[in-house]
């Protein structure tokens, strides 16, 4: 903890407010973009707005914490010579696989019976999943945060006028890689099948697409996306102590991002995520009025969302719903 305060003090003196806002905004934006991508993938394939995304993020981070520090799997079976970062990466991969499995199980048990029901009803089912899953995860977490044991630690990358924590660099890189991967994925055969399923489940089925399998895949990808975002929410500089019950709530702030971009636009989700992250960081850094009280930056995403929706009810890049009788 002392080390952390020391670093904060150092960066605080060296970095200009502008640079601080930029680095903070980019890393926040990367997290929001990751979270928003998860929402959008599930929505694009299944037309389900997944309110359980936050719970999945919390669960994913907790799984990483358990694999990496609690049970140290597979690190305990590896020779001593394996570097720490490699064994942590292996643990994280195992955790992500577990998260994907959880996502698939949830879809199979709770969402599959709702195929063909109203969109609202399914969205509310995911709200139910969120409550149940979040509370079970929180119970496993307990009262103290669980450290993730990540290899980036508290290291800082100093570029002269601007500084990034290593975690922030990792966040931005990972989100760029994952976003490009998803964008490419939607051009593969499975990805096209996914888009067809989103467009019309019955017609997709008639074309020989296994709709159930598409649902499974999209929930697995969504859960992995949520878990990756959960990891970055639970490390320095957001929650240096590790995953705690508030990790799950972080995902609600990505909802404005997907609204901003439009519920069904991958590119929109990314732009929305970064826009909201940067807006929040800049407001947090520069807007300091006494009458605004504390925590104003936290509601900037929602205010932005309201303004955008007044102007464009389907978001900036969303497809306008064609209403038929």
């Amino acid at each position: 903890m002392n080390e952390l305060i020391l670093i904060l003090a150092q960066t605080g003196t060296r970095e200009t407010p502008l640079a601080a806002a930029i680095s903070e905004g980019l890393s926040l934006g990367a997290i929001y973009a990751l979270l928003a991508m998860g929402f959008v993938i599930i929505f694009k394939a299944t037309q389900v707005l997944n309110f359980a995304h936050g719970a999945l993020a919390g669960l994913g981070a907790f799984l990483v914490a358990s694999f990496a520090t609690l049970i140290n799997f597979p690190g305990r079976y590896l020779p001593e010579s394996v570097p720490q970062w490699l064994s942590w990466t292996l643990s994280a991969l195992c955790a992500l696989i577990a998260a994907a499995l959880v996502g698939m199980i949830l879809e199979r048990v709770f969402i599959r019976p709702m195929i063909g029901e109203e969109l609202f009803a399914v969205a509310i089912v995911t709200l139910g999943i969120d409550i149940a899953l979040r509370n079970v995860t929180n119970d496993f977490i307990g009262t103290d945060p669980r450290p993730l044991g990540d290899p980036w630690g508290l290291n800082i990358l100093d570029l002269g006028w601007i500084t990034f924590a290593h975690t922030e660099v990792a966040q931005i890189l990972v989100s760029i890689v994952l976003v490009s991967a998803v964008a490419l994925f939607f051009r593969t055969k499975t990805g096209i099948a996914m888009r067809a399923t989103a467009f019309d489940q019955e017609a997709a089925r008639a074309q020989g697409i296994n709709v159930g399998r598409i649902f499974s895949i999209s929930w697995a990808i969504g859960a992995v996306m949520a878990a990756v975002a959960g990891i970055f929410v639970s490390v320095y500089p957001r929650r240096a102590a590790g995953v705690d019950p508030s990790t799950a709530f972080f995902a609600f702030k990505a909802l404005p991002a997907i609204i901003l971009g439009g519920l069904d636009s991958v590119g929109g989700a990314v732009i929305g995520g970064f826009a909201i992250g940067i807006a929040e960081a800049f407001v947090g850094e520069f807007v300091r009025f006494d009458f605004l009280g504390s925590g104003f930056a936290g509601i900037v995403p929602y205010l932005l969302m309201l303004i955008v929706l007044i102007v464009r009810p389907y978001g900036l890049f969303g497809t306008e719903e064609i209403r038929r009788v």
Partner: protein, 419 residues
């Protein structure tokens, strides 16, 4: 049942809420039971009890904490009736109900709380209670145009945003709300003409015939009945039919001449009115509120109420409120009972053992130990149950408790035949 109870010879008889003799009798008995419940002859603690009375078998419900629970059910039912009109009848999913409740609560606090260091005007209940409905309704109409423009899932997210914005405002408006975590007290159900000292009807003191919770329960029960009748009648009126037309297919409704914008706005306004009144009553009855009270969890609780009860039905909403608010108590009493059973041993203990955690080394689902240990705490178990119940009802019984009741009723109506 003699005669043909469903043979109606006039339109009024056909449309009446209690359209059979059985319904009238059962309703009269049920209301009579509820009204008699608080008349116990004052609180147990006070020495001057006028009489000693309790209803057989369910007399335990007259105890102070059960009356408080029942009064809370009444308050939540009022709020849920509002959400039911918006979400169940008009089909507009709102996750922002707790925001409007908070606005109502703080309107009431501002107007009703005694003058002091924090904002307060000390006005009587007949001013602050209607105001607590009107102010949120006005805000609902203000937000409405945005909400009417966006539809479906976008609306759910917009209303969710309202909750977060509202919580921020409540936390930072210290002179009104008392600030984060601290909150402020406001216990004021007494009916006064103006600011004079002795109230016309005193609720906040134990009386000779009923305790303070008993009197509060009676008052809230009367309010609930009034609001229920209004909601039921609204649903059967032109506006209610317009709401349902919009819910079932908005474009079709518009084609048939239903002014979509106007009726959606109306639904928002009325629902916010109900929410505001419920928020004000909740604060005034429980006596204290913190800004964090009006959060997403409360909004989800209301969604759970109308889904578990049966979306779109008034009686279902009432059943849902009773179910959701009493569930924590049932879980708590249930775990305590199971725990006692384990200590006794026997057949029940073998079933109860995997459910209840009795010592830190024991496995189980629900933990009854003080502090943190293995297993879910009773509070967490409740939350998990809410979640699973929402899912379960949506998958297996979309009409909720009301649907279950319908099936039971229809089974016995035709008994011993199956149709």
């Amino acid at each position: 049942m003699r005669g043909r109870p469903l043979l109606h010879t006039s339109y009024e008889a056909d449309q009446s809420i209690l359209n059979t003799t059985t319904k009238k009798v059962v309703m009269a008995l049920f209301l009579g039971f509820l009204v008699l419940l608080p008349f116990t002859g004052g609180a147990e603690s006070s020495g001057e009890r006028l009489f000693d009375f309790s209803i057989p078998f369910v007399g335990f419900l007259s105890s102070n904490d059960y009356l408080q629970l029942l009064a809370t059910v009444c308050i939540f039912a009022i709020g849920a009736l509002g959400l039911n009109l918006l979400t169940g009848v008009a089909g507009q999913v709102s996750l922002g109900h707790s925001f409007f409740m908070g606005v109502g609560a703080y309107t009431a606090v501002w107007l009703g709380a005694p003058e002091g260091p924090l904002l307060g005007l000390g006005l009587p209940i007949w001013i602050w209670l209607p105001a607590a409905g009107l102010v949120p309704a006005a805000i609902g109409l203000l937000v409405g145009p945005t909400a009417v423009r966006v539809r479906g899932l976008y609306l759910a997210i917009v209303t969710l945003g309202l909750v977060f914005i509202g919580e921020y405002v409540f936390r930072n408006w210290r002179s009104l709300t008392g600030g984060s975590q601290a909150g402020r007290s406001f216990q004021e159900l007494d009916v006064r003409l103006w600011k004079e000292e002795t109230p016309l009807i005193e609720i906040s003191q134990d009386g000779a015939w009923a305790s303070t919770n008993g009197k509060g329960f009676l008052m809230l029960l009367v309010l609930l009945i009034v609001f229920t009748v209004i909601a039921k009648n609204l649903q059967r009126s032109r506006a209610g039919r317009a709401f349902q037309a919009i819910r079932d297919r908005d474009v079709a409704a518009e084609v048939m001449g239903v002014d979509e914008f106007r009726y959606k706005l109306l639904a928002f306004g009325i629902s916010s009115f109900y929410a505001g009144v419920a928020g004000a009553l909740l604060t005034a009855f429980l006596g204290r509120t913190i800004p964090e009270r009006w959060d997403l969890i409360l909004a989800v609780q209301f969604i759970a109420i109308i889904l578990i009860g049966g979306a779109g039905t008034v009686s279902g909403t009432l059943m849902g409120s009773a179910f959701v608010i009493m569930l924590p108590r049932v879980v708590q009493n249930g775990t305590e009972w199971l725990r006692a059973a384990i200590e006794e041993g026997g057949f029940i203990a073998t079933i109860a053992d995997p459910i209840v955690v009795t010592d830190p080394t024991d496995g189980g689902i629900i933990n009854t130990l003080p502090g943190v240990g293995p297993g879910l705490s009773v509070l967490q178990a409740n939350q998990v149950l809410y979640g699973l119940l929402i899912i379960g009802f949506l998958i297996f019984e979309p009409l909720g408790l009301y649907g279950i009741w319908l099936r039971i009723r229809n089974y016995w109506k035709g008994w011993p035949f199956t149709y």
